[in-house]
Amino acid sequence: MGAFTQWFNERAPGLGAVYKKHMTEYYAPKNFNVMYYFGSLAMLVLVNQIVTGIFLAMFYTPTAAGAFDSVQYIMRDVNWGWLVRYMHTTGASMFFIVIYLHMFRGLMYGSFKKPRELVWLIGMLIFLVLMAEAFMGYVLPWGNMSFWGAKVIITLFSAVPWFGHTLVTWIMGTFVPGDPTLNRFFALHVVALPLVLLLLVVLHLGALHEVGSNNPDGVEIKKHKNPKGIPLDGIAFHPYYTLKDLVGVGVFLIICAVIIFFAPSVGGFFLEHDNSIPANDLVTPATIKPVWYFSPFYAILRMIPSKGLGVLALAASIVALFLVPWLDRGGVKSIRYRGLGYKIALAIFAIVFFLLGCIGADLTPGWIVSIFGPNADITTIENLFGRILVILYFAFFVFLWVYTFFGFERTRPVPERVTTHA
């Protein structure tokens, strides 16, 4: 082993240096808590999606006539095909669970703040590409929800002024989603977007390791170093965090395995019932809704009573997240030492996001009936409720700027060194 390492290092000294820089000599704060598992878990899911995706692509047929049959071929005729596909479909949903928690962590501990704005921006780009990737993957099985989801989401682009309708036809390649749409989505889903995603992940990590990781206390560990230049509150990523993340991976895989083997459709949330019906361009499913991870954004679209404004609000809801590093002018990073206003605002924001998701997933009509009785005016109540939520969603960003820009925030003193407590 030693001889080989020497042989290798003589020929590729750069690789050893890269390994050192990012693993054994990358010093991360020693006080990471549970919210810091989701970065490595996201990488794990990405690897899972790539490996299972490569195998699915070996058996899938990207044509309108063959796609649905080929998915059933994978599920029934290909040896272990069901396992590979359930790993991929479960992975898709788990990807978003993990990413949403990862983003929420960033908001909690101010990981988007100077000097980590670039890390946040690249992360947001990853999120954007991931949404495109997930949407196109969702279209591929060519079930009835795939078809109508594709049609509705592509038609969103018709809200673009002047050439909107041309744009829609250009994306579809026909006048309703069909073979050309499926072919290009397949190419983008399995080749182009994964490449972009991988590149962005490398940049995300590169940018992070340049400035160093934030932590639950929001203090910069590089301020206090020992004579060798190692941060006093830092520990080597490898072995300490690789081993810690391994435990997180174990727990995460247990949850994934329970889903894959015992409830792969998660009651119609990870795999929708209406997608068991082949695409039918004449029959719209009874309840048309996007898959759960898009539902908060879909609710924003649906609650605005104007097509143009709705699409604009949808776009704005994502753009606002990009702008967070510049909207938040506060000097303190971690929620532990921030003003009460930020704590309350972030909690409300998370709840609003979740409730918008429930509206988008069409769960609210049932709730309204059970609260207000069977004769309730579902649409009016839902719209009222939903529009309040939309306003609250955007209010978070406005509040964040006003609260910090005009100095309303009363922060607590930030410690010099990291703290660790249970």
């Binding site: 058996f59 029934r76 005729d77 272990w80 095909g81 396992l83 590979v84 391994l246």
Partner: protein, 198 residues
Amino acid sequence: MADDSINKGRRRFLTASTAVIGGAGLIITAIPFVETWLPSARAQAAGSPITVDISKIEKGQMVRYGWRKQPIFVINRTPEQLQWLPKQDPRLRDPHSNEPQQPSYCKNGHRSIKPEWMVLIGICTHLGCVPDYKKKVGPEPFDPDWKGGFYCPCHHSRYDMAARVYDGVPAPLNMVVPPYHFVDDTHIQIGVDPKGAA
């Protein structure tokens, strides 16, 4: 950070055992992925046995069938063709069919169940071309002493009337005889062994 209280032996043991358990898990996980490449249920259904009617095949005639997308040759050999077989032995690479290129019930001088009926997968054992059936006895450009058999146009491999390969040609083995049995006197089922034969 390294202090004297570190129990290196314990660390090594735990690292090794976790690596072994994790590695075993990874290998077991790889098995399903590898097995996706095995023939699917559809491929297996397409490879199910075929039954052919041989009543119309005349003496000396060869008919081709498809089984698992491979050419199956069925030849109704003449007594004269059969009579040449033992005389070719000295010129052959494996005259007694010692290599397992045929089911055990076809390991005999004529490589078949009934002497006159030759059933084989018509694929040259060199690089997979389909040989020609050359039944005419007499000098040929590729063999001045041709007694009838199969000739592969790709790299000039030659086989006798029992698809046994001649010595001195690129093909290493006799052509394969598939499992088959006689359903009745005029029907052969290819892909299934006779009852009682393994």
